[in-house]
């Protein structure tokens, strides 16, 4: 199915979870914040949150900054 991740169209497996998406990019769940269709996903729910067709996913992390 097709979703949008950080602005880019991507094809992912149907039924993939947030944890699954993070694994696709080699990201540890502990360092990434996730938003789906403008809703913030609680960190404790990454494993159970399943993506749907057309979802807009934002993956965000802390970086150095003033």
């Amino acid at each position: 199915m097709n979703v949008i991740i950080n602005g880019d169209a991507r094809e992912v497996e149907t039924g993939v979870t947030v944890v699954g998406v993070l694994a696709l990019f080699g990201l540890a769940p502990g360092i990434v914040l996730v938003q789906i269709n403008d809703e913030i996903v609680n960190r404790t729910r990454y494993a159970e949150t399943v993506l749907a067709e057309g979802d807009r996913v934002e993956l965000v992390r802390f970086i150095a900054g003033g």
Partner: protein, 261 residues
Amino acid sequence: MSNDCLVIAGRSFRSRLLIGTGKFPSSSALKAAIAASGAEIVTVALRRVDLSQAEHDDLLSAVDPAKQLLLVNTSGARVAEEAVRLARLARASGLEPWVKLEITPEPRYLLPDPVETLKAAAMLVKDGFVVLPYIQADPILAKRLEEIGTATVMPLGAPIGSNRGLRTRDLIRIIIEQSHVPVVVDAGLGAPSHAAEAMELGADAVLVNTALADARDHGAMARAFALATEAGRLGYLAGLGPQRSTAEASSPLTGFLDVKE
């Protein structure tokens, strides 16, 4: 002086120097600066993960959450809604709900948008955040923010990263005179003397980043800023003498020896 704490939203800090973590050449340089600064509040930013390259988690290794409060900024936000979303994301990560509100729509001077900042501050305060807004040195805006419940105001000395010092000195003086919340001078402080100057004026704290990141020796510069911040604070508390346009002799002008040749 040992009891002279900076209190923000009911929380006490011994250090009046806040530091930003941006632009350091390495996490070891940042670590040296944090250690030497004695800072208890350090800022971080939030960004989209770059999916085209491997990410390194350098930053968080330099910060010790047991010693420093992580203050998330909303840099990158151009309007209130973006800033609020960034703040909520940060809170969802489990960080304390403290946010450096920063809305800078134009990239050349990165000056904060007062209208969007006021709007976002109201939303964030209502949402339970401790809000530290980055603002232009505008005394009226500072008052308006205080009235809606921000924890501090953070007027700029000069544009972010410009190292130009306290160009807004006269306006910051008015903000300090009128404020009932801590005044943190943020942005543009490029030399330890700039930090001392802000503190001598009566600022409650200063926030420094670029001056430390730009230094040849990051740790030494951080220490210099820490000393200058403390010196300025001590000078302010001790009470500066008035300025005069003519001399006022430090030695008595009477009782000269009657020298005869």
